[in-house]
């Protein structure tokens, strides 16, 4: 597809998602209390978004990822939270 065709197809939806991100950050800022490592990672990911493509999706995923290589001693939970606490 041409760039024009992709813009025609996906621009409005991408714009919508971008505004949703802004609204999420506004909502967090409006709320009281402390934030945590997830918001720090989120801002780091936004910085990646601002860099030129390609590989933006990959770079954002890596910002949120555990970069270590050794297994952890034991699993104390089953759930993932979306960001690696050790980055902070």
């Amino acid at each position: 597809m041409t760039r024009q065709a992709i813009l025609d197809l996906d621009f409005v939806e991408a714009r919508h998602k971008l505004i949703d991100l802004g609204a999420f950050l506004d909502r967090v800022a409006r709320a009281e209390g402390r934030d945590d490592f997830r918001l720090t990672a989120f801002h780091a990911a936004i910085a990646e978004l601002a860099k030129p493509a390609p590989h933006a999706a990959e770079r954002i995923l890596l910002v949120f990822s555990d970069p270590t290589s050794e297994p952890i001693p034991a699993a104390t939970t089953k759930a993932a939270c979306g960001a690696w606490p050790g980055a902070v």
Binding site: E58, L61, L62, S69, A75, T76, K78, A80
Partner: protein, 267 residues
Amino acid sequence: MRYIEPHAHMVSRTTDDYVSMVATGCAAVCEPAFWAGFDRTSAAGFHDYFLQLTDYEPKRAAKFGLPHFCWLCINPKEAEDVGLAEEVLALIPEFIDRPNVLGIGEIGLNKNSRNELKVLEMHIDLAARHDQLILVHTPHLEDKFKGTKLTLDALRNNSRIRPERVIIDHVEEHTVKMVLDAGFWAGMTLYPGSKCSPVRAIDIIETYGGERLWMNSACDWGVSIPLSIPYTAMEMRKRGHTAAAVDAMIYQNPHRFLSQCAKFAIP
């Protein structure tokens, strides 16, 4: 349109889902063993689950004219208890020759712990000893990158494993290349809130080619979309992919991988 749903947890779904899948062209469904949403308290619970996957569920699917296949294992979320895992693995040979069993899966890691890795290696050894196909689950969110690397190492450390007989599922943009470069198949899971969206899955196909890729819904008891494959096929057509290219991705590719098991046949 025809497609194979290579990863769906139908024991968690309704008969309406079977109707919708068949009506949209689903020609076969494959069901990996997974976590029930709670921890089973004994190996006997897995014995009953394996009976469900190999006896009851194929009969339920057959009522809708849909061939049903399955994979067996203890899933990574219950792999912290190595003793339980050993008991469950000992049950699998009893079921492995049943007509709808395709191999060992979905095995893998969840939080990338030492015990999970040990149980993954036990599963890989079981698959090698019984010459079975392998379907691998990769971890969620922040754990996926590390877990995929650990999984690839575990597979490569077993010289009996042939990469073309292993599919590593739930890949995303940061893991797909390492999986394909190592010679394995890669699965993309189409989820509404995590893993791959349909548009990103198509981006990956356009970036890496569709030679050793498949797509699945992995629909289960959580928020998931049993028709995500036909929906993604529609998106592919919208992006200009030909009907033949769509067929190659959603039917021929899974058919090619799964046919490495002689029991996989679509009437």
